[in-house]
């Protein structure tokens, strides 16, 4: 008996028992929005019912309107690419049992349960959604959609919350952004036209001396995952409020692989919020310095660019 036959038999047995296939719950990584604790549903955000339509109640001819989202609250209507933990709260009709949440035109949406009574808007029920936004979410306006669902599975009208997605890239006159994909201690180094090298510690001159970055001067925002204390950021950004003209060389240095075999990275040169150059590469664990060693070498060259004005 083949596996297919076995499956058919098993399914037949289940059918006889009145059982059905379950719902799938993907990770939702394909979507630009993720809702913690929610159930992911692939596909278009469901079309809402006509709020005027209603459905007859079981015990009377009085139509019961589909559930509706009355209020949605957020700290701000701006969201940054890759933002984590943004909270949305709201209020839905008393008949609602769950709420669908999703970005317009996204690959899927999420189902979250409603909470207890909304003490500010009785007899409505409250709901909340803790959301994460994808790093590659397109900057610009986007609607975050909400729709209430009742116990019968009826979906109420959509309610749109207009959000503005901000680029996570700096809008400085010149910036260099290094991103990578694994929890390793990777460092961004930028050799400036004057021969000094910009590091997370400051400006390093040819003799190895460091100068602390000054207000308004070039700087690297942080040393992510320094010493393998994993912060999850996996990004370092060098900003140049007043970039000098000349040749810049961007280097990527794997200070410590933190137990990982390799990491893939991307370097982007950004001018006034626009990416003008990009390079990708991979750093391997064998490129790291000896444990405890500082950046004894400057890693590998990622790209070179010129600033002419």
């Amino acid at each position: 008996m083949s596996a297919r036959s076995v499956k058919a038999l098993a399914c037949a047995a289940m059918a006889l028992l009145g059982c059905s296939e379950g719902v799938s719950m993907g990770s939702g990584y394909e979507a630009s929005l993720r809702v913690r604790g929610g159930r992911y549903v692939a596909g278009e955000f469901p079309a809402g019912s006509d709020p005027e339509a209603g459905a007859p109640m079981a015990d009377a001819s009085t139509p019961q309107p589909p559930p509706a989202v009355a209020v949605v609250n957020a700290t701000s209507l701006a969201v940054q690419q890759g933002q984590l933990g943004k909270q949305f709260t709201g209020s839905v009709s008393y008949s609602a049992r769950t709420v669908a949440v999703g970005l317009e035109h996204d690959r899927g949406y999420w189902i979250v349960p409603v909470d207890a009574a909304d003490i500010d808007l009785p007899p409505n029920l409250a709901f909340h959604a803790t959301t994460d936004f994808a790093s590659d979410l397109t900057p610009g306006p986007v609607n975050l959609l909400f729709a209430a669902i009742d116990a019968q599975g009826r979906i109420g009208p959509r309610r749109a919350l207009p959000l503005t997605v901000r680029s996570s890239l700096p809008d400085a006159p010149l910036a260099v952004v290094l991103d990578w994909d694994r929890p390793v201690d990777l460092d961004l180094l930028v050799q400036l036209p004057d021969g000094r090298t910009l590091t997370a510690r400051g400006l390093r001159s040819a003799d190895g001396a460091y100068t602390r970055p000054t207000d308004g001067g070039a700087r690297i925002d942080l040393n992510s995952n320094a010493g393998c204390v994993i912060d999850g950021t996996r990004r370092e950004t060098a900003t140049f409020p007043a970039p000098g003209t000349g040749r810049y060389e961007v280097r990527v240095h794997l200070f410590s692989a933190c137990g990982e075999p390799s990491t893939a990275w991307r370097v982007r040169v950004v001018r006034a919020g626009t990416v003008v150059r990009e390079a990708v590469g991979t750093s391997w664990s064998w490129e790291t310095d000896a444990p405890g060693g500082g950046p004894s070498d400057d890693g590998r060259r990622a790209l070179v660019f010129e600033v002419s004005e």
């Binding site: 008996m1 083949s2 596996a3 036959s5 076995v6 499956k7 038999l9 098993a10 399914c11 047995a13 289940m14 028992l17 059982c19 059905s20 296939e21 379950g22 719902v23 799938s24 719950m25 993907g26 990770s27 990584y29 993720r34 929610g38 159930r39 700290t75 701000s76 701006a78 969201v79 940054q80 933002q83 933990g85 943004k86 008393y94 609602a96 049992r97 769950t98 189902i111 349960p113 409603v114 909470d115 207890a116 009574a117 029920l125 669902i149 009742d150 116990a151 019968q152 599975g153 929890p183």
Partner: protein, 501 residues
């Protein structure tokens, strides 16, 4: 190296190695090709002293897909047949009761060493498995693989026994790739006993070490002999890894079987404390049973009970920490984003009571010349007993959690070469389960219902087989649009190759 019918001394360990202490072994390959003239079963499987084989490193009892933790226990009595590598057992051992069915299995290889007998039984289970919920991703924290479609070495076991007239040593080692390559002991027993009889049974034995918890049928059955891929869910939940560390007294008096043990109460694959003892041993567990045979049928049945205490870990002393939360969503740190999180004094740990009771029955019968059937039914009830799948802790929930499990299954061996089987497995980890829907507490089902069907082929006279199994799982692990738990699509398919003498 010889494979033969065990002399009295050796037979004890044969039983230990292969006999299910309390129950029948599962349909193993029928002894010899000759169905009707089934080879005599050397001795009524030494029910009592049987060791069992353990399970694997607990699988993320992912609520999502209640996977499995296997176990294994020595199967039935040392069997006659089975083309063996080295020695061919003499036609009959003393007073070998007529063999019946397919529960017989090889006893491995024996090496007489003076007053001792060394016995070795290897087996290996490798498989391909496919899960409906599998996804080529990592969990959001990067710590877990969401892909579950894979080839995996489920169990690579080596059971080694040293048998003496008055004593016995048993060691079972395992290597698997369930969660990366892992090597460990699944059983390690040191036993003093009264001499075994011709059937490999002893009226009394005392064992210290790591052994299968003497409860029910599923827990004591060998994964080598169990044709279905894993144990029933309640067995995985109540006894994750099957084995526990402790002391056991067991024996066989005619058709009567008994086993009583005091164990640490933290089975091998229990997360966090598995194989350890955060509390003094308080779990007393045992099984009373019967093992009756006729020419064509063997019946085993028993009742089991466990009483003891679980452990709720307290919290260690904390320290004040500074918390950062970007409440302003400005991307820059503001005073509102900072919060002092005060450390707390240590919180004491607590014990809680738990108990379980169960009953089981199994029948191994030769229905016709070329057809043998193995069927079993087992049920168990437990309070605060789930230590492997859903983790019941009344200190957390504020009330005792009652779980109930039932399993019924049957496998048939056709012409000594083909296997078919069907199993129905139901487990409710919390019969009083509730959930909050729209601010109201409502009763919510939590049970998991699994129908498993299998088909396979086997090499006659051995435990070598290729089996395909499909599990249809109906549970309540997903969120329905009505706010209630609903069925999660997590059926699975397993194609397993087992090689063993």
């Amino acid at each position: 190296m010889t494979k033969r019918r065990h002399p009295p001394v050796a037979r004890g360990i044969g039983a230990a190695l292969l006999a299910s202490s309390v129950g029948l072994a599962q349909p193993a390959p029928a002894p010899t090709p000759a169905p009707v003239t089934a080879p005599p079963m050397p001795g009524p499987a030494a029910p009592v002293e049987a060791p069992a084989t353990p399970a694997e490193p607990a699988a993320p009892p992912t609520p999502v897909a209640p996977v499995a933790t296997p176990a294994e226990a020595p199967p039935a009595a040392p069997t006659a047949a089975a083309p063996a590598p080295v020695t061919v057992p003499p036609p009959s051992a003393p007073a070998a009761p007529p063999a019946t069915t397919n529960t017989e299995s090889s006893s491995g290889f024996t090496f007489p060493l003076g007053a001792f007998t060394l016995r070795v039984l290897p087996y290996l289970q490798a498989q391909y498995e496919s899960h409906q919920e599998s996804e080529d991703q990592l969990s959001s924290d990067g710590a877990h693989l969401l892909n579950r479609d894979r080839f995996v070495l489920r169990r690579g076991r080596l059971v080694v026994g040293v048998d003496h007239r008055w004593a016995q040593l048993l060691l079972e080692l395992d290597v698997n790739t369930q969660q990366g390559v892992a090597v460990g002991a699944r059983q390690a027993e040191a036993t003093l006993r009264l001499p075994v009889d011709d059937h490999g049974r002893t009226p009394a034995s005392l064992t210290f070490g790591l052994f299968r918890t003497p409860f029910g049928h599923e827990v004591l059955r060998s994964a080598r002999d169990r044709v279905f891929a894993e144990n029933a869910l309640f067995a995985q939940a109540f006894f994750p890894g099957e084995s526990d560390v402790g002391a056991r007294v067991q024996g066989a008096l005619g058709w009567f079987r008994y086993a009583v043990a005091v164990v640490n109460g933290h089975p091998l694959d229990e997360p966090v404390y598995g194989g350890r003892a955060p509390t003094a041993p308080r779990d007393v567990v045992g099984r009373l049973g019967v093992d009756v045979r006729s020419e064509r049928v063997r019946l085993t049945a028993g009742i089991s009970a466990l009483g003891g205490s679980g452990f709720h870990a307290g919290s260690p002393q904390g320290v004040d920490t500074l918390g950062v939360r970007n409440t302003s969503e400005t991307g820059t740190l503001t005073p509102d984003d900072l919060a002092l999180i005060q450390g707390r004094a240590a919180v004491r740990s607590q014990n809680f009571a738990r108990f379980a009771a169960g009953a089981d029955v199994a029948v191994d019968a030769r229905l016709a010349a070329n057809v043998s059937l193995y069927a079993w039914l087992e049920g168990a009830f437990g309070q605060n007993m789930d230590r492997g799948l859903f983790f019941t802790d009344p200190v957390v929930t504020g009330y005792d959690l009652r779980g109930l499990g039932l399993v019924a299954g049957a496998t048939a061996t056709l012409f000594s070469r083909a296997l078919v089987g069907l199993r129905v497995d139901w487990y409710n980890p919390n019969v009083d389960g509730t959930t909050s829907v729209a601010g109201r507490i409502v009763v919510a089902p939590r049970d998991v219902f699994t129908v498993s069907a299998l088909a396979g082929v086997q090499v006659p006279g051995t435990a070598t087989r290729l089996v395909a199994q499909y599990d249809v799982v109906r549970d309540h692990l997903a969120l329905g649009t009505d706010g209630l738990p609903t069925d999660f699509a997590n059926n699975r398919f397993t194609l397993r190759l087992q090689v063993s003498p």
